[in-house]
Amino acid sequence: MTDPYKVLGVSPNASDEEIKKAYRALVKQYHPDNYADNPLANLAAEKMKAINEAYDEIQKMRAGGSGQTGSGTYSQSGSSAFAQVRQLINAGSLSEAETLLNRTPVSERTAEWHFLKGVILYRNGWVQDARTEIDTACSMDPYNSEYRSFQQRMNTGSTRSPYGEQGQESFGNCDVCDVCSALMCLNCLCRSGSRC
């Protein structure tokens, strides 16, 4: 195994708190949920595994408590044909999954069919057609959280990028508006106190 400190990007002299902070940041970044729709989801899972192992190793070395573990797979129930399609998608056999899916008669194409079609297209890089299918699935079954979360994930960039929407948030969570609103609240409290 490689140096666990290098995996977490901390120096061997780092405090427990620093290690925990680095670990949490990496877990947030490589969590399988962020890559569920990505063809390289298995790679993210591997990274996640390496991060967990490194954290456990450091915990053991420091004779501390137990490390956290966390991983997630991307699959859900459905009809038997769709379950098979899901298995094929997870195994990376996209063309086989698509062939199997296309055998479904047009009259039996449910929201799940459109969702799975969208996932296959997305993994193939056909993003525009994928969006159409996912939107169709969401409109056919608006309360399905799986379809909704996939749709939302399509709109999010990398959590790692310093220029992405989430990356820019990480530069600082306190902006001028926050300061102003906090001061206004404090001001209200002060006034009410003086009147009492």
């Binding site: 977490l8 390289l40 993003v127």
Partner: protein, 296 residues
């Protein structure tokens, strides 16, 4: 490839900006030395990005040196990174040759006549590029598929933008992942695919008016029916272009270490800010001086 993939420089760190300029300068010098001097005037941002991406994916070290540029009349920082530069300059030479061949097939009249004179120069660029060890098959096969698809689109009109972009995307995926193995190759292929998809589709968007007039193949005109219909779907087109950059950004993040390198930051800048800026530039007509359009 036509210079759409560029960073938003005001948002870059000063050191990253200097490194990016040095890479551009180094690539320009390298292509001047190895792929004819004329290539220095034809090189564009897309290939500078390819050089940055290849250097990062192959973990090649970039060294900088101070050199005098004959066209800037002063000394400037220039990068030395032979592996990535050989790939970027080599495929630049090959793609320039095939672009010229494509133009000669499409164009008529004086334009065609003028471009015929450039053919010997492009052939020389191709010959020199081959000597750099580039694999021409990576380019020819997808371009043949694209030509067949364009023919099919003109005859039957049933080619979606995703399907059309797939050919060029496979080309760039092959270039980005050349020589890599395992997960590195998977990441490079996926990154290259979405960069190619983005470039192909944004170029189609940029040529929308011209293609509507000339009747040339354009996937957006086929998808939406007419120029005005395509223009009214500007938001949908913007979304699909930005989607590619989002997938690129998320995929590239898989190979980043705990601490981002200057190359990582340059690549994220281009993916997260440069992509959006390029789409906005094209939609507002700022990218194409000839075609002023009023899309929002």
């Amino acid at each position: 490839m036509f210079g759409y993939i560029r960073p938003v420089r005001p948002d870059m760190l000063v050191g990253d900006d200097e490194l990016y300029s040095a890479v551009y300068c180094g690539l320009c010098r390298y292509s001047g030395r190895h792929v004819t001097h004329a290539s220095r005037f034809l090189l564009n941002y897309d290939f500078a990005f390819l050089a940055v991406l290849r250097a990062s994916l192959t973990n090649e070290e970039i060294r900088t040196e101070r050199v005098r540029c004959p066209y800037k009349f002063r000394k400037r920082s220039s990068a030395v990174c032979d592996g990535a530069f050989a790939s970027a300059a080599g495929y630049f030479g090959i793609l320039t040759y095939y672009k010229l061949l494509d133009d000669l097939n499409d164009e008529r009249g004086w334009k065609k006549f003028g471009k015929k004179f450039l053919l010997p120069l492009a052939s020389r660029m191709r010959k020199k590029a081959r000597a750099l060890g580039t694999d021409e098959k990576l380019v020819t096969k997808p371009l043949e598929d694209l030509a067949a698809l364009e023919k099919e689109g003109k005859e039957h009109g049933n080619v979606s933008p995703d399907r059309a972009a797939d050919c060029f995307a496979r080309l760039t995926a092959g270039i980005a992942s050349e020589g890599l193995t395992g997960t590195d190759a998977d990441i490079a292929r996926q990154c290259g695919y979405h960069i190619g998809r983005f470039v192909y589709l944004i170029d189609a968007l940029d040529d929308l008016e011209e293609d509507a007039k000339s009747g040339n193949f354009n996937p957006f005109l086929l998808r939406y029916g007419s120029l005005s219909d395509a223009q009214s779907h500007a938001d949908e087109i913007r979304t699909t272009l930005e989607d590619s950059m989002r997938v690129f950004s998320r995929t590239y993040a898989l190979r980043c270490g705990p601490v981002l390198t200057p190359l990582d930051r340059i690549i994220f800048n281009i993916a997260d800010l440069g992509g959006k800026a390029a789409v906005a530039r094209v939609l507002s007509g700022r990218n194409n001086r000839k075609a002023k359009r009023n899309l929002k």
